[in-house]
């Protein structure tokens, strides 16, 4: 039996960021349990982008604080490698007056929160992303402080820094069951038992299954997203191009490869993470229509991952109802990687009972009981 003050389930970016922030704030008697290896779930399968451009206040604020922290991470944790941060901006394109209206509404919200997004015309877009077809284009929302970072290395940076301060990371350690006796939670794993007064469920798409082990239903469900990567070529595309109308995103990484993905509105809820031939075809059609020059670039690999969806596409950071010491940090709905630097700080503040960087009401489970849920619609 291994005893800790805090046990985190999940070795993705969220779990590692929470572990790092707890240790940094003085609580290092912490274990991270990961069923495979670090980043093996959603983190290592994501599109590797970060953006300020959201449609709800809570997502905008999370992003703003998180990205500011990401910019200083390498120095803060003294990480020896480059985190592959590229500030090429995000260009969110509009092909209809309706999308133009929605994007301009988002820009107004973002500007009010001191995020410098601006509307750009097709002529300006020619300068920002010359590869982009301007056929039927109304314009776009652009912010040059959005960009790319390497999810494997950002996670590694947090994990190594946490370990240096005393956090223990147990990989290939899968939680099979959780027992609660008095204030103590005992986690039964394939590598023996772990016990702690505080458990943090950061298991992504599996987070609802973890909560179910202690009899609580979480409104979080898995949702497959498919993605592909091409061979590396010379730098040709500065910004991440995002089209809500096509459910598509595409960016060129600092390595030179293009990463692109599609959201499928008809995707059934399931834990399926296999790749489909239909995706490859549809992705290729939409990408080459938007960026015709990409027709000459070779696809080398496709894969899929699971979004951990919440009812309003915004995260849940809260204690399970009536269960002191069982905390959930999940429901990131496809943007867990980019806000993780702040997620870790907020959760550590909650566990340690210190003042929060942001008001926490907007992340509570209680919000789903209200009649009008504020939906984040700016998602692929």
């Amino acid at each position: 039996m291994i005893k800790k003050e805090v046990i985190i389930i999940g070795g993705g970016i969220t779990g590692c960021s929470i572990a790092y922030h707890l240790a940094k704030m003085g609580l290092s008697n912490v274990a991270v349990l990961e069923k495979q290896y670090l980043t093996s779930g959603a983190t290592g399968r994501c599109g590797a982008g970060f953006r300020h451009q959201w449609g709800t206040e809570s997502n905008c604020l999370m992003a703003k604080y998180a990205i500011a922290k990401l910019m200083n991470l390498k120095e803060e944790v003294d990480f020896p490698r480059d985190l592959e941060i590229k500030l090429g901006g995000y260009l969110i394109v509009a092909f209809s007056p309706e999308m133009e209206t929605q994007l301009k509404k988002n820009i107004a919200l973002q500007n009010r929160l001191d995020i410098g997004t601006r509307w750009v015309t097709p002529d300006e877009i020619k300068g920002i992303a010359p590869l982009l077809s301007r056929d039927g284009l109304y314009g776009g929302a652009f912010y040059e402080r959005d960009g790319h970072a390497n999810p494997f290395l950002v996670t590694e940076a947090y994990a190594r820094a946490a370990q240096r301060m005393g956090v223990e990371i147990f990989t290939y350690t899968e939680v099979h069951d959780i027992k609660i006796e008095g204030g103590t939670k005992t986690l039964l794993t394939n590598r023996g038992e772990f016990a702690s007064p505080v458990v943090i469920d950061a298991a992504g798409a599996e987070s609802a299954r973890m909560a179910q082990m202690v009899g609580v239903s979480l409104p979080i469900y898995p949702y497959r997203h498919q993605i592909l990567v091409t061979e590396p070529v010379e730098p040709a595309l500065g910004p991440m191009v995002l089209s809500f109308e096509n459910h598509l995103y595409c960016q060129q990484t600092p390595h030179g490869s293009f990463i692109m993905g599609l959201g499928d509105p008809n995707e059934p809820v399931s834990f399926n993470i296999s790749s489909s031939r239909q995706f490859l075809h549809e992705m290729a059609q939409k990408a080459t229509k938007l960026l015709p020059a990409l027709g000459q670039v070779h696809v080398v690999r496709q894969w899929a991952g699971l979004y951990d969806m919440s009812p309003d596409s915004q995260p849940i950071l809260d204690h399970l109802p009536g269960m002191e010491g069982f905390y959930v940090a999940a429901g990131f709905s496809g943007h867990g990687f980019m806000i993780a630097p702040l997620t870790g700080e907020l959760v550590a503040q909650e566990i340690l009972g210190t003042p929060s960087t942001l008001p926490m009401e907007m992340f509570r489970l209680e919000r789903f009981a209200k009649e009008n849920i504020v939906m984040e619609t700016s998602v692929v």
């Binding site: 290896y37 290395l153 290939y172 490859l280 027709g295 000459q296 670039v297 080398v300 894969w303």
Partner: protein
């Protein structure tokens, strides 16, 4: 030839020294080395490097080659142009 000048993954220029360093730093599987150092992520998708990397991981971790699993093999089997994929049939 020394380890610093022995290339194992030629698509991504990963040397034998880098591979050994990664294993010494705690990597237990080829999946982990792939994600941290891009082993087998280039155009050949590991056709050249993975059999060598597998043997090196077994040696360095005092295991057997048969016990080292390969990273998930992902489609497409050979690199294909987006333009060619876009032309394909529309029916499922």
């Amino acid at each position: 030839m020394d380890d610093d000048n022995t290339i194992i993954c030629r698509c991504e220029d990963i040397t034998l020294a880098k591979l050994k360093e990664s294993i010494a730093a705690g990597a237990k599987t080829l999946e982990e080395i792939k994600r941290l150092h891009r082993l087998s992520m280039g155009p050949c998708q590991g056709r050249t490097c993975l059999s060598m990397a597998k043997r090196i991981l077994a040696e360095q971790s005092k295991s057997e080659v048969g016990r080292v699993s390969l990273p998930t093999c992902r489609p497409p089997l050979v690199p294909l142009k987006l333009g060619v994929l876009a032309e394909g049939e529309d029916k499922p």
